[in-house]
C-alpha cells in the first residue's frame, strides 16, 4: 500500500490561477474524493498527481519519495478518464493488456492477467470483442480493469461514471467502492457529484475557487461545514443572513437560540445561520416563540417518499423537507410556523 503527499502544490497558466497552494495527505489504502464545482481546479490537481501537468510550485511525494519530476509513464498510477479513453483500434483484451505489452510482458502471461482482471470486474469472456460492441457500463469496467492491469500504486479516477445514466451510476459507485476496499488500493476520485462523493469516499476534499475549502469525512463535511461555500455546495441548505445577539443570533427580527457560536464573532457581527431542510419543522400557525418563525407557504414539492415545503419568512425563502407522515398537510398561501431546533442551527462567519 502506498501513500501520497501534496506539499504546497500550485498551478498557474500564464497569469491564470488554476490551483492555489494545496497541502494534502492521502493515506495508504484510503479513497479520497476531490469534490467541487466545475472549474474549481480539482481535475488539474488530479492531473498533477498523474504527471500529466507539471505543477508551478510544490512537490508530489509518494511513499516519502519526491516524484514531481517523474514523467507520467514512469509513475505507475492507474487512471480512468472521464471519456474512458479506451483505444478504439484495439480489442477489449488488447486494451487491458496494453500496459503489460508496453512493459514487454510475454503474451502468455498477458492473456492470463486479462482473464483475471475480467473476472475481477465481473465481465468474463469478452476479451475478444471490440470496444464498440460493449455497453456503457461494460466499457466502464474495461477502463477500470485496464487501469488496474499493472498493479498501480495509486488509482486515479477522473469523473469516471459521468457518462452513465443515473441508475447504473449509483450501482457502479457501490461496486467500485467495494472493489477498491477489497484491493486496498489508495484511490483519488474526482467528481462534482456530492452524492457520489458521500457514497464512495473515506474522506472528501471540498474544492472551490482553486483551493481546498475543507477536508473531512463525508459526515463531518455535511454536519460541520467549515464555511458558507461548503455549506452551500454540500446538500440543500437554508443559509439565513443573521447578526450575533448575545449567545444566539437574530434573524428577521427574531431571536434564535443556537448550540454554539464560532469563536471570534463579536456582538452585532454579520453571520450566516445554516439549517438543513430536514431539521426544520412546519407547525400550525400560533404565537411566535423562541426559535419559531411565522411563515407563508409558497410551494409544495411532493416527490412521493419526501415532501418539501417551501415557505417565505419575510424576504427569505426557506426549504423544509421530511417524510410525508411527519409533515402536516399544507397548501400554498397557508400561514404556518417553522421551528428551528437550537442544536440544528449552525452559525458561520458571513
Amino acid at each position: 500500500m502506498h501513500d501520497l503527499r501534496l506539499e504546497g502544490v500550485a498551478k498557474t497558466y500564464g497569469t491564470v490561477l488554476a490551483v492555489e497552494q494545496v497541502d494534502l495527505h492521502v493515506r495508504a489504502g484510503e479513497l479520497v474524493c476531490f469534490l467541487g464545482p466545475s472549474g474549481c481546479g480539482k481535475t488539474t490537481l488530479l492531473r498533477i498527481v498523474a504527471g500529466l501537468e507539471t505543477p508551478s510550485a510544490g512537490r508530489v511525494v509518494v511513499d516519502g519519495r519526491d516524484i514531481t519530476p517523474l514523467p507520467s509513464h514512469r509513475r505507475e498510477f492507474g487512471m480512468v478518464f472521464q471519456s474512458l479513453a479506451l483505444f478504439g483500434h484495439l480489442g477489449v483484451g488488447e486494451n487491458i493488456a496494453y500496459p503489460l505489452r508496453i512493459r514487454g510482458v510475454p503474451a502468455e502471461r498477458r492473456r492470463a492477467r486479462v482473464e483475471e482482471l475480467l473476472a475481477l470486474v465481473r465481465l468474463p469472456g469478452v476479451a475478444d470483442r471490440r470496444v464498440t460492441q460493449l455497453s456503457g457500463g461494460q466499457r466502464q469496467r474495461i477502463a477500470i480493469a485496464r487501469a488496474l492491469a499493472m498493479d498501480p500504486k495509486l488509482l486515479l479516477l477522473d469523473e469516471p461514471l459521468s457518462a452513465l445514466d443515473a441508475k447504473l451510476r449509483e450501482a457502479m459507485q457501490i461496486e467500485l467502492r467495494l472493489l477498491q476496499q477489497r484491493l486496498g488500493i489508495t484511490t483519488i476520485l474526482v467528481t462534482h457529484d456530492q452524492r457520489e462523493a458521500m457514497t464512495m469516499a473515506d474522506r472528501i476534499v471540498v474544492m472551490g475557487n482553486h483551493r481546498i475549502q475543507q477536508v473531512g469525512t463525508p459526515l463531518e463535511i455535511y454536519r460541520r461545514p467549515a464555511n458558507t461555500f461548503v455549506a452551500d455546495f454540500i446538500g440543500t441548505s437554508n443559509l439565513l443572513p443573521a447578526r450575533v445577539a448575545g449567545t444566539g443570533v437574530r434573524f428577521a427580527g427574531h431571536p434564535i437560540a443556537v448550540a454554539a457560536l464560532p469563536p471570534g464573532l463579536s456582538e452585532g457581527a454579520e453571520a450566516t445561520l445554516l439549517v438543513r431542510p430536514e431539521e426544520l419543522h412546519v407547525l400550525p400557525a400560533a404565537a411566535p416563540g423562541p426559535n419559531r418563525l411565522p411563515a407563508t407557504v409558497a410551494f409544495v414539492r411532493d416527490v412521493g417518499s419526501l415532501v418539501e415545503v417551501h415557505v417565505d419568512c419575510g424576504d427569505t425563502r426557506l426549504v423544509t423537507a421530511g417524510l410525508r407522515k411527519d409533515q402536516p398537510a399544507v397548501a400554498p398561501g397557508d400561514t404556518v410556523q417553522v421551528n428551528l431546533p437550537p442544536e440544528a442551527c449552525l452559525v458561520l462567519a458571513a
Partner: protein
C-alpha cells in the same frame, strides 16, 4: 481540462491556413526539436532558397545569348512597364477575376445542394469531382477545344437538332478560355466550400423557412452571408489558381488572350530571359498578394 476537440477543416477549407491546435508543453532541448529540423530544412532549402534566388535573379543583368550576370538593376522591372506587358497584366487580372466570380457563383449553390443530399449521393459526387480534378489541364484544354470545334463540336449537335443553321468554331475565343478556367477550378471551389457548407447547421435554414423565406431567398439571405468567409477564401484561391494556368490560354485562347503565366514561361524557357521572367513573376506575386489583401480587408470591414 481535457476536451474533445473539433476536427480541423481540411486543406480545402478557409481555416486551413491555421496550424493545428497544440496542447502540449513547449519542446525542450535538441532531442525534442529533432523531428521538426528535417521538414524545416527541406522547406528552407527547396522553397525559401529558390524563392530568394528568383528574387535575386529579377535584378540580374541579361547578356545576349541566354546568359546573365549578377547585378542590381531595375531594367527588368522597367521593361515590364511597357504597354504590352501592362495590358497583359490587366487582362490576366480581369480574366481570372471573372473566372473566379463565375466559378464561385456556380460552385456555391451546387455545393449547398450537394451538402443537403444523402451521404451516398455526396460520396458519389465527390468521387466524381476528385476524378475530374485529376484530369490534366492538357486533357481539359484538348477536350474543350474538340467540343467547341467546327468539325466535331457541340455546334454539330445544334445543327442536327435544327437549332442552328451551320456548325461554328467557338474556340479559340475569350468565352472558351473563360469556360475552360471555370472548368478546371470548379472542383477546387466545391472542395473548398464543402466543409463550411456541410457544417452549416440545418436549423439556420429551417428557421428562415419557418419565418417565411422562400428557398431561393433563404439561400441568398441566410446561407450566403453565413458562408461569407468561405466564399471570400474560395474567390481568392480560384483567382490565384487560374492566374497560374499556363496551358489553357494556349489551347483555348488566341495569342491576345495569353496571360502573364504564358509570358513568364515563354520568357524563361523560349527566350532564355530568366531575369525578366523572374521580374514578371515577382510583379505577379505582389499584385496578387495586394489584391488578396484588399479583398480580405473589404470583407472584414463588411463584417463589422
Amino acid at each position: 481540462m481535457t476536451t474533445t476537440r473539433e476536427p480541423q477543416p481540411t486543406m480545402t477549407s478557409a481555416a486551413a491556413v491555421l496550424p493545428p491546435d497544440a496542447a502540449g508543453d513547449g519542446p525542450r532541448g535538441l532531442r525534442q526539436h529533432l523531428p521538426v529540423l528535417y521538414p524545416a530544412a527541406m522547406l528552407l532549402v527547396f522553397f525559401v532558397v529558390p524563392f530568394g534566388i528568383m528574387l535575386a535573379f529579377s535584378f540580374f543583368h541579361r547578356v545576349q545569348g541566354g546568359f546573365y550576370e549578377p547585378a542590381f538593376e531595375l531594367d527588368n522591372y522597367a521593361r515590364f512597364l511597357t504597354p504590352l506587358f501592362v495590358s497583359a497584366l490587366g487582362f490576366s487580372i480581369l480574366l481570372c477575376g471573372l473566372a473566379a466570380t463565375v466559378c464561385v457563383a456556380l460552385a456555391l449553390p451546387f455545393t449547398w445542394l450537394l451538402g443537403r443530399s444523402s451521404v451516398r449521393v455526396q460520396t458519389a459526387w465527390l468521387v466524381f469531382i476528385l476524378s475530374v480534378l485529376s484530369l490534366s489541364e492538357v486533357i481539359v484544354g484538348f477536350s474543350w477545344s474538340v467540343l467547341l470545334s467546327r468539325s466535331a463540336g457541340v455546334s454539330n449537335l445544334l445543327v442536327a437538332l435544327g437549332l442552328a443553321a451551320e456548325p461554328a468554331a467557338w474556340s479559340p475565343s475569350f468565352p472558351a478560355l473563360l469556360m475552360g478556367l471555370c472548368y478546371v477550378s470548379l472542383p477546387y471551389a466545391v472542395l473548398v466550400l464543402y466543409p463550411s457548407v456541410v457544417r452549416l447547421p440545418s436549423e439556420i435554414t429551417e428557421a428562415a423557412r419557418t419565418l417565411g423565406a422562400s428557398p431561393v431567398r433563404t439561400f441568398l439571405t441566410v446561407v450566403v452571408p453565413s458562408l461569407r468567409r468561405a466564399v471570400v477564401a474560395t474567390l481568392i484561391l480560384v483567382f490565384v489558381f487560374t492566374l497560374g494556368s499556363y496551358l489553357l490560354p494556349q489551347l483555348l485562347g488566341q495569342p491576345q488572350h495569353w496571360t502573364l503565366s504564358v509570358l513568364i514561361t515563354d520568357q524563361a524557357v523560349y527566350q532564355s530571359n530568366v531575369p525578366f521572367a523572374a521580374a514578371i513573376a515577382v510583379f505577379l506575386m505582389l499584385v496578387s498578394l495586394g489584391l488578396i489583401g484588399i479583398t480580405l480587408l473589404l470583407s472584414e470591414r463588411g463584417r463589422a
